[in-house]
């Protein structure tokens, strides 16, 4: 498939043009280059999608080998692209959602000084992400993996003048680095075991390998945990919200943070061989979704709420992967990309309109003032809360809940945590929606006289059209996959199961309908509770505020279960202590000693330079006498 290479190459081209000539280009040209490359890539992807779906390739994948990358001994790595059913979903999301976000950014970032730099980084990100998901071997995948990490770093610290932003970027880089190191070690072990990096060969050879090291999937899981912000490496994602909103939408919600999900799904054979790794994935996913959900309930920053909810939703995906519900995980990724990108973009408009106000309790009453944003946000929130039947989130999350309980690896504990997560999700989503869009308007319209008030800021079509498209998809994209008992329509899992194995279920299953009713009730209960607390009788919150214990719990959750403080005392402080103790170690002493000796000699010699003529003459005389003596006695 010669078209394959164009998909990552076009964004790369855009990156090169914008980074090399970006300063010289006028703004009118930057946006078409930056967004245009992604749009063309997206069109190519859709053509490929259509062809893939209509006439599936014989071996299940389009492949294209571009050139030999390097040869070392028996290891030969080529730049080869591979598009199968799984990567097709990812490529579609990356290019399609990416294109919409680029179009939105063309308007959103127009005021920014570094317009070209923004689009250059975004294009490089899309290119790296496409390389990651289209890579035919794990070395190329790792290249894309590090590439997206770099772009994430660059874009979190996009407004680098503020020290907090740079710190957030550094934090994201360091923490994902922990996972990346584990993943690299995992890849080395994999090569040692199987002698190849080619993905189809690995998937084919692994079950036949005489010995199998269960450390490999665990190390790969650690890599995925770092990238996908799962427990215990989740602390970077809430801080990553320092970047511009489109960056949060594209990188920290829709695509990059799901790279871990892709990695696990891609290497599913390795995980299936190790029940321990599967269980670890499921447990990490379940714990993460619960912990992050709890934190999301008490946040006040609109983007941090969404960040914690992203961590929580990716936790659902990990849970699904861990119980062996491969297609359910990918399906949740598919719908999540739409509604979470939408929520971030809409939040971006709200923040921008209210003069960079992030605190939801200073918003309020935006329902009638920003109708388009409100309606699209409503659609996204419905999907996030998994509102039954009408939203895409329901179809994907319901599957995960069902499988968490009833898949071969699932059990009641995982299922009930997932169910609690569903309650929490619907609670904080409703809270967010009610506080931001209902109630009284709380932002004082402090704006320079002569300009229209900030609240009257109406997003133009460049911003609303992506919102509307994503809003429609947030509601409808779930219809391609129905629960088995409602309607026998399983387009998505049918597609994905060309690559991934089907989900194994337990025997003697309870009725799926009963589960759905319970899930629905739990979701509605969450919504109702939030409605009571935040709309009907807000006095109860004031009552809670009085109680010291409630506030302590709230603060604990607000700080993300104090993980940052824990890591500070566990790692940062001892490290700083050790460095302080070890400040003058042996090698330091050696070099300081040399410097000190030179300084002492210098002082001694400079004593002779005392400016006294008589002293100099004595010196000359002594020299002459020395030479004469030497002449006389030899």
């Amino acid at each position: 498939m010669p078209l394959l290479a164009f998909i990552p190459t076009l964004p790369l081209l855009g990156f090169l043009v914008l980074s090399l000539a970006g300063r010289a280009l006028p703004k009118k040209l930057i946006a078409p280059i930056g967004a245009g490359t992604i749009c063309i890539a997206s069109v190519i992807t859709m053509l490929l999608c259509a062809r893939f779906l209509l006439t599936p390739p014989a071996d299940g994948a389009y492949t294209q080998t571009l050139w030999q990358w390097f040869n070392i001994g028996s290891l030969s790595v080529s730049i080869s692209l591979r598009l199968d059913a799984l990567s097709l979903v990812f490529v579609f999301i990356i290019t399609f959602v990416g294109a919409l976000i680029h179009i939105y950014s063309a308007a959103f970032m127009r005021q920014d000084r570094d317009y070209a730099r923004f689009f250059a980084c975004m294009n490089l990100f899309v290119c790296s992400m496409l390389v990651l998901v289209m890579a035919g071997n794990l070395v190329l995948l790792y290249l894309g993996w590090e590439g997206v990490g770099l772009c994430s770093y660059l874009l979190i610290g996009f407004w680098y003048e503020t020290p907090a932003n740079s710190n957030a970027a550094n934090k994201a880089f360091y923490i994902t680095r922990i996972g990346d190191t584990a993943m690299a070690i995992g890849l080395f072990l994999l090569y040692k075991e199987l002698g190849t990096f080619t993905i189809p060969a690995i998937l084919h050879d692994a079950p036949q390998a005489p010995s199998y090291n269960t450390l490999i999937p665990l190390l790969l899981l650690a890599g995925a945990m770092g990238k996908s912000a799962q427990l215990p490496l989740q602390t970077w994602l809430p801080d990553a919200m320092a970047g511009p909103s489109p960056v949060s939408a594209l990188i920290h919600a829709a695509t990059m943070v799901t790279a871990g999900v892709y990695l696990i799904a891609r290497m599913h054979v390795l995980f299936q061989l190790s029940p321990l790794a599967m269980t670890a994935t499921a447990v990490i996913g379940a714990l993460t979704l619960f912990i992050a959900g709890c934190s999301a309930m008490v946040q006040t920053d609109i983007k941090r709420i969404l960040a914690y909810s992203t961590i929580s939703q990716i936790g659902y995906m990990f849970l699904a992967l861990g119980v062996g519900a491969w297609s359910a995980a990918i399906f949740h990724f598919f719908t999540h990309a739409f509604f979470k990108a939408l929520l971030f973009l809409a939040a971006g408009v709200v923040i921008e309109a209210l003069h960079h106000e992030h605190n939801i309790f200073k918003m309020g009453g935006l329902k009638n003032k920003m109708p388009v944003v409100f309606l699209t946000f409503l659609a996204g929130a419905a999907a996030l809360a998994a509102l039954p039947l009408v939203s895409a989130g329901f179809y994907s999350k319901d599957q995960i809940l069902w499988y968490a309980w009833n898949a071969a690896n699932g059990n009641a504990a995982l299922g009930s945590i997932a169910l609690a997560g569903a309650f929490i999700t619907s609670f904080y989503t409703t809270r967010l929606l009610l506080v931001v869009f209902w109630g009284e308007s709380k932002t004082t319209p402090a704006h320079p006289p002569g300009q229209p008030p900030p609240i009257a800021y109406r997003p133009g079509p460049l911003m609303t059209v992506p919102l509307v498209i994503l809003g429609i998809l947030s509601l409808t994209s779930g219809f391609i996959e129905w629960p088995h008992n409602l309607l026998h329509l399983t387009l998505f899992s049918h597609h994905v199961q060309k690559t991934l194995p089907a989900t194994l279920l337990k025997e003697n299953l309870p009725s799926e309908s009963a589960f759905q009713v319970i899930t629905t009730l739990v979701t509605l209960a969450g919504i109702y509770l939030a409605y009571i607390v935040y709309y009907r009788s807000p006095a109860s919150i004031l009552q809670w505020r009085q109680s010291r214990r409630m506030m302590a719990i709230r603060d604990f959750l607000f700080d993300g279960w104090k993980f940052d403080a824990l890591y500070r005392t566990l790692f940062v402080k001892p490290f700083v202590f050790i460095t302080r103790v070890n400040k003058s170690d042996i090698s330091d002493r050696l070099y300081n000693g040399i410097a000190q000796a030179s300084l002492m000699l210098n002082r001694m010699v400079s004593l002779s330079q005392n400016g006294s003529l008589r002293w100099y003459i004595v010196g000359v005389l002594a020299g002459i006498l020395f030479i004469i003596t030497l002449q006389l006695f030899t």
Partner: protein, 102 residues
């Protein structure tokens, strides 16, 4: 020409040289130091002349002429410098002139 006793002349030259050296080392005034240097130069010249007389060669006297010319040039430059030093520092005491120390 009667026999020339070079040793006495050389001893005189050596005494002159040491006198000059002592003058250079002990005098405080720059002008006296310059004078002492002249004495040392002349003692060297005397030694050359004595050596020339002893071996019946003209080189010693040629060398003395060179020393004479060099001494004249040195004194003119030296005195000019002394004048400048006095102009700037209002003193000719070498112990007071220590600005070139480290």
């Amino acid at each position: 020409m009667s026999s020339f006793n070079g040793e006495i002349v050389l001893i005189v030259a050596a005494i002159l040289f040491v006198l000059g050296l002592i003058g250079v080392l002990t005098r405080k005034n720059i002008i006296f130091i310059l004078l002492s240097v002249e004495i040392m130069l002349n003692s060297a010249g005397l030694a050359f002349v004595a050596a020339g007389a002893k071996w019946q060669q003209p080189d010693g006297q040629v060398m003395f002429l060179f020393i004479l010319a060099m001494a004249a040039a040195e004194v003119s430059v030296g005195l000019a410098l002394v004048l400048q030093i006095y102009h700037q520092h209002k003193t000719l005491d070498v112990d007071g002139l220590k600005e070139l120390r480290d």
